[in-house]
Symmetry: D2
């Protein structure tokens, strides 16, 4: 039973605390939030004790690992503290929205080489990982196209957008990580463009809510991503991998799989699962499993800080491409 | 260019006259209807001349073949006349609703062995014939189950029902013929039951509008048919063949194949084609083609009078089974 | 935390013991099997202690409820013992294969009215229960047809078949219970027929491995079931409810939902989940949940002994119908 | 009966000659090819007489309209001749691969304003035109994304590629025209990239066989095209229109619609129709219908020379973008 402290008690902290509490091989020792009342709300539900500072959490000998799900700007500080205390870390993505601060994270982890895993949860979705395995095993021959559709039900509050790092670093970064992971290579060139078609307030910030990205891989394979912050039929999440021997696609998910026939339409299914908490519920559990397995087996977790740096470099190149109207080579 | 006379100018006469007129290898010589004004409506549209009697039509040397699409009770008389005149015949199903009169048709055709084809049009539907070929070629191994769903959009006028011969002889007979044709054998035993759930006037006639039929084949294979005279989503026509090596299903058909996603439903298609005229449009053309091909090639057409007798015998056994509440062996 | 003793440590006992152990509101107190070594295999994995007699298990004050998953012939004895001891019971279906002994169970439960639930697990499958709710809420108007397809991957050992009570009582009984539960009524008449197409040894016992059943409901609605003990593409489980306002179907389930396109086929999915342990995994968990919820809320569980008697009566009527070749009225 | 002369007797000339011959409102008067033996092959099959020069064809008073399906480089010459002779023209796309020569075509048509239609056949495909009508009628609200997938079974002979004008002008131009037609606007900016992944000989010419294109519309809507010259599962042709109120997709087409279930895969369909002749068979017939309807109704055909110029300008901008690695504004 690994004793775990969850840093942060927001939406993601709640997911992590709940999954730790339900896991037969883990125990929720504490939830850390400077706003201790917020931490207590989770410990009341899931066990463990609320603490107000990282120092207090890390000083507890029962804490054998830390999950960081605090605001992005605090990641570096908490990674530094936990790594210095020798605690294995599972950190929500992104490491940071700034490439220099991201590099600082990598340096910290080089200095204090604790097991570290970055929360690219979608890799742990059963459907997506099945597609990745199929592609990597050569089932479709030489990969030619990799297409990712990711359309959210509704835009987040404008306050969230303001500190999100821009649409590519906030949202496309998930698709980028999946594409690099599935393709087994990272783009030599990206082009991205976008519009503000959903919420004019987002446009007023200079950001976009509708985006398309093209990436060219060293092998010649091309990748496409389309993102939108509005989707009336739910959280549309599709991957399509096309190669010299065929194509594999992931299916969308719904609360139920009933097929309905009426005078108005036939062969119809329900709208998609609402958003990432519902769609990727299984992936968050599998992500925790991978973290615990890696600790048990004494091997590095499969989603690393370097992967986080790569995805951020590409997302920043997308943003630069959008602003400059030309293809950009990411800085790896 | 085969010269053809179409007997009858109702709904089916219109289909046949139109298909003959459009066919590069056929010519509409005449349309026969004792009500000559009705015949003229078709000849005005499709060419040829209206005639009021079978004698007049058959005396015309340009008439090389006859298509009979008159009311069922007149089939025997017209088959007799056309066969005596040595004209090849394509006759709408059924031969007759009475087994004795059906046998009389067979005798007539034995006496005057003209090429004869019965209008089991569904066999000529491209999807259904593809399924039949796949099953007959052994693609699913030993046939185990054969399921036919046939649900009409709305009940016919009660006047039609009154002379229809009952639901099994009117509607199920199509499914019965397909099942025998696909299975390559005819049932040793049938059980059928039904309800009146759509139109109480149908029930008042002692007939039904909702039926299920089970057939047991000599091989042990079992067949199921469900029929209903009401269906809000169109003309539901599905076949499923299940065997020791797998399953093959036919797909339904729609006016367009667009896939629609809204806030209410996803992956939705349009309602099905409305009824048999729309759904089996291609099959009526292919049926005419088979008739003309058989004449050209000097071989018997593939859907024979005997097939019609077999299907009727089974349909009548279904009716008897429903009335007696027990399995019945058809009289072949 | 309800303390639970699981009677039986075979395939179903393993499922129940595992689900009890994993449930946050339940605790596995003991596993009972006269062959105590077999019980110990489960307690070693899931906790609790192995016991060799029902008396010992029931005498334990920590045991607050009993799950009976022993061979069918022992159900009556263990129900009697547990009911006399005042313990709530979740019993695997069927109560018994004999209608008189089933009635004896009902009498026992009348005498000792402990909370009792029968393990009709499929009712608790999320897809099937969603379809039932939709039908019962009137979504498709008046129910007209209810079709159940249930085809197993491979026949069981002949030793199992020998004591199974025949194919209808062993397998069709699940479809029968679902049909009555979804339709909200029980048939006035059933007809069933079958063949031996899979395993000649089954036929040598006078049993069948391929069956079709028709049921007529008081409302006039008709139900169809097809069962087969061989299916190369997995455990085919489909329900189709057709009514005056439309149709609802459940979808089959696979280990992954990837869609594959190759030079040989397109839009293809993986074979279905192998058999009931895989397909109905969620339903077994939900069934336990319903049992615990009913105990907590002080209400009777939703699947009762009477439902079990009804389903058995219908299954026996199917067997009688098959043997007599006529429609049979079940004895309720 | 419009008398028609078909210029050219290659693959497309054969399609046009056959469709004219089969059309009840048209008559094939002549087929023109300087290689008169090639023309004769078609007139032997479809009627009319072979002629060796455009002058001879145009001098024939029975020729009321001309269909030009000769090599692209000859289009300008034949348009000029036919327009000067006052004959309505249906011309295969593209007008020309060179923008200046395309403008020369437009000038010719301004000087001799005969009815002129450009052969953007895909607009006349029943599925695609149904999608266009649905989008234009506002069914999905404000258009946000328009995605076009077009993947050919195999690369053409290298001799064809050499004079094709590059992959964008040869293939993407179809997707470009559809996108502008469906969106009702033309891009302000395009970005395109590509690889040579199929045939190294294509790469040796400086051309590509694998391409992705992004277009930004004045409304902010974004369009994506992916093209590949190799596809093992047939001619993949999909359109997806996503908007503020939902999404509409077109379905692919197969020779049969059977659904197959085996031990290896379930719910599988056949590979797609092989290539454009098979997939767009109906569209070529509908295209001819539109041309004849426009002549009969005295209105301009719906696909104009200007549309051809627009699509070419965009395709050339794609090529320029690929070479320069930046977004390009097309020259309209």
């Amino acid at each position: 039973m690994k004793g775990i402290s969850v840093f942060g008690s927001g939406r993601m902290g709640e997911i992590f605390a709940g999954n730790v509490a339900a896991h037969p091989g883990a125990r929720l020792v504490s939830v850390m939030n400077p706003n201790i009342a917020s931490a207590r709300k989770l410990t009341d539900r899931f066990g463990g004790r609320p603490v107000g500072t990282p120092e207090e959490a890390l000083a507890d000998p029962e804490v054998e690992a830390v999950i960081i799900s605090t605001p992005t700007t605090t990641h570096l500080e908490y990674i530094e503290a936990a790594a210095a205390a020798g605690k294995p870390i599972l950190c929500e993505k992104p490491l940071d929205l700034n490439l220099e601060r991201t590099d600082r994270c990598l340096e910290v982890l080089e200095k204090h080489p604790v097991p570290f895993m970055l929360g690219f949860n979608r890799r742990f979705d059963p459907q997506i990982s099945a597609l990745q395995r199929a592609v990597r095993s050569g089932e479709i021959g030489t990969l030619t196209f990799l297409m990712s559709t990711s359309r959210e039900p509704a835009p987040p509050p404008i306050s969230y957008v303001r500190t999100s790092g821009g649409y590519f670093a906030d949202a496309t970064i998930h698709d980028i990580d999946l594409i690099c992971w599935i393709a087994g290579e990272r783009p030599v060139e990206v082009f991205a463009t976008g519009s503000c078609m959903v919420d004019p307030e987002i446009g007023a910030l200079g950001d976009i809510d509708t985006a398309m990205t093209v990436m060219k891989m060293p092998s010649g394979a091309l990748a496409h991503v389309n993102n939108c912050r509005r989707n009336v039929y739910g959280f549309d999440q599709r991957l399509e991998a096309f190669g010299s021997e065929g194509m594999i696609q992931t299916a969308n998910q719904r609360d139920d799989d009933l097929i309905r026939w009426t005078s108005q339409q036939t062969d119809a299914k329900a709208p998609l699962k609402h958003f990432f908490l519902e769609r990727y519920e299984a992936s968050f559990r599998q992500e925790l499993q991978e973290f615990l397995d890696a600790l048990t087996e004494g091997r590095p977790p499969s989603a690393t800080a370097e992967h986080g740096r790569t995805a951020l470099a590409i997302a920043l190149a997308c943003e630069e491409s959008r602003r400059q109207g030309r293809a950009i080579k990411p800085h790896y």
